[in-house]
């Protein structure tokens, strides 16, 4: 015996099927979006976890190395000696030979000129306050310093570097009576004077 199925209301049936399709699409879309979102979180967790494990491992290795470094009892003294040797070398390299300045001054300064105060900066600029018996002697001193090593002095030659450069004279004052002339002179010492070579 067979039974035939008759759709007496096709519009109602189609409407029912449409609702089912809508539900299906909505469910599939929601699942797909959720899976993608969760997958991104999952990948992030895996990467972050891997990084954490790696960091823990490197941290452990660093701590081991630090323990080994601390086991060297002489390290502090040895490192200090190494650092101080370097500093000493730098300080020696940059040391100005002040005595050489006096030797040069003695050689070139005319009689009757005396220094009363000499200041030397870290860039080897010299500021000299002095006294002279006359204005002429101050001029002679400046000219002598300008010509030192190029025109006057032992082994002087025009091709040589002058011992002093940027010579500037200021505050030249007659103090009256027997006190003579006071002056202030600034100049830069050449590397030859500074190094004493």
């Amino acid at each position: 015996m067979s039974a035939a199925r008759l759709n007496l209301a096709p519009e109602v049936y189609q409407s029912s099927q449409r609702e089912k399709r809508r539900r299906k699409i909505a469910r599939a879309t929601a699942i797909a979006v959720s899976v993608i979102a969760l997958a991104i979180v999952g990948v992030g967790l895996v990467i972050a976890g891997g990084q954490k494990l790696y960091l823990d491992r490197v941290n452990g290795q660093i701590k081991d190395s630090q323990t080994k470094v601390k086991s060297y009892t002489d390290l502090q003294d040895a490192a200090t000696a190494q650092q101080h040797l370097k500093t000493l070398n730098d300080l020696t390299q940059s040391k100005a030979r002040f005595s050489k300045f006096f030797e040069v001054l003695q050689e070139f300064a005319p009689q009757g000129v005396a220094a009363t105060k000499i200041t030397i900066s870290e860039s080897n600029a010299i500021e000299m306050t002095g006294s002279a018996k006359s204005y002429d002697l101050v001029t002679k001193l400046v000219k002598a310093l300008e010509a030192s090593n190029t025109k006057i002095g032992k082994n002087s030659a025009a091709t040589n570097q002058p011992f002093f450069s940027s010579i500037q004279l200021s505050d030249v004052t007659d103090n009256g009576g027997n006190q003579g002339i006071s002056f202030k002179l600034t100049t830069l010492m050449s590397s030859e004077v500074v190094s004493g070579k």
Binding site: I31, V41, G44, V58, L91, I120
Partner: protein
């Protein structure tokens, strides 16, 4: 050709109920998906920040490890070289002490003066640097200057010899200024000297914050 229009479904109570049920279902599913996406987004944002920070941390830690490995490799040679210095170890400490060590400077200045034949009248630390030295620790990154002044009497050649002795001093010194005056044929010089000291080397590893 005319469009075939879908026949309208009569809005019976059953049809309306079915449509409402479907709409509710879709709204519920969408809301759940939205919640999942929002929560995932929030977690993902935190994870991305954490991954970026960890990446920077990994770079720095790898660098620190490489530095430490290099340090460990160099230490035996450094210590061996230091031990081979013998008595020169003390010379280095005296040449560049870790404190200003003014008493040592007095002794050195006295030796330089007597060697030059001058008379040492006085030695005193510069007020400014003495105050600075008593308050602030020495820097290990570079030498700290310590200014002090000395007053000496002697002839011109003796004074020049004194300046030469300053240059030959094992403890580096620099003449900052010198004042000259003469009385009774004796040259009197007040010289301001700069000497140096430096703190012990830092061997502890430095730590930093990664932002």
């Amino acid at each position: 050709m005319a469009n075939k229009k879908a026949p309208e479904v009569p809005k019976t109570a059953a049809v309306i109920k079915r449509e409402a049920s479907a709409n509710n279902y879709i709204a519920l599913v969408s809301a759940m998906a939205l919640v999942i996406v929002l929560v995932s987004g929030f977690i993902a944002k935190g994870l991305v920040n954490s991954i970026i920070l960890n990446s920077q941390l990994i770079l720095k830690q790898n660098q620190a490890k490489a530095d430490l490995d290099k340090k460990l490799q160099d230490i035996p040679t450094l210590i061996s070289n230091y031990k081979s210095l013998g008595d020169k170890q003390k010379l280095i400490i005296h040449a560049l002490p870790t404190t200003p060590d003014f008493p040592q400077l007095v002794s050195i200045t006295q030796a330089m003066s007597s060697n030059a034949g001058t008379q040492l009248k006085s030695v005193s630390p510069s007020v400014a640097t003495a105050e600075a030295a008593s308050g602030a620790p020495a820097s290990s990154s570079g030498p700290s200057p310590f200014l002090y002044s000395a007053e000496i009497n002697g002839s011109y050649s003796q004074i020049v010899q004194f300046f030469k002795n300053i240059e030959l001093s094992a403890r580096p010194m620099r003449v900052v200024s010198s004042d000259f005056s003469s009385a009774d044929g004796v040259l009197k010089v007040t010289v301001v000297l700069s000497s140096y000291y430096q703190d012990k080397a830092k061997i502890d590893d430095e730590t930093g914050t990664i932002k």
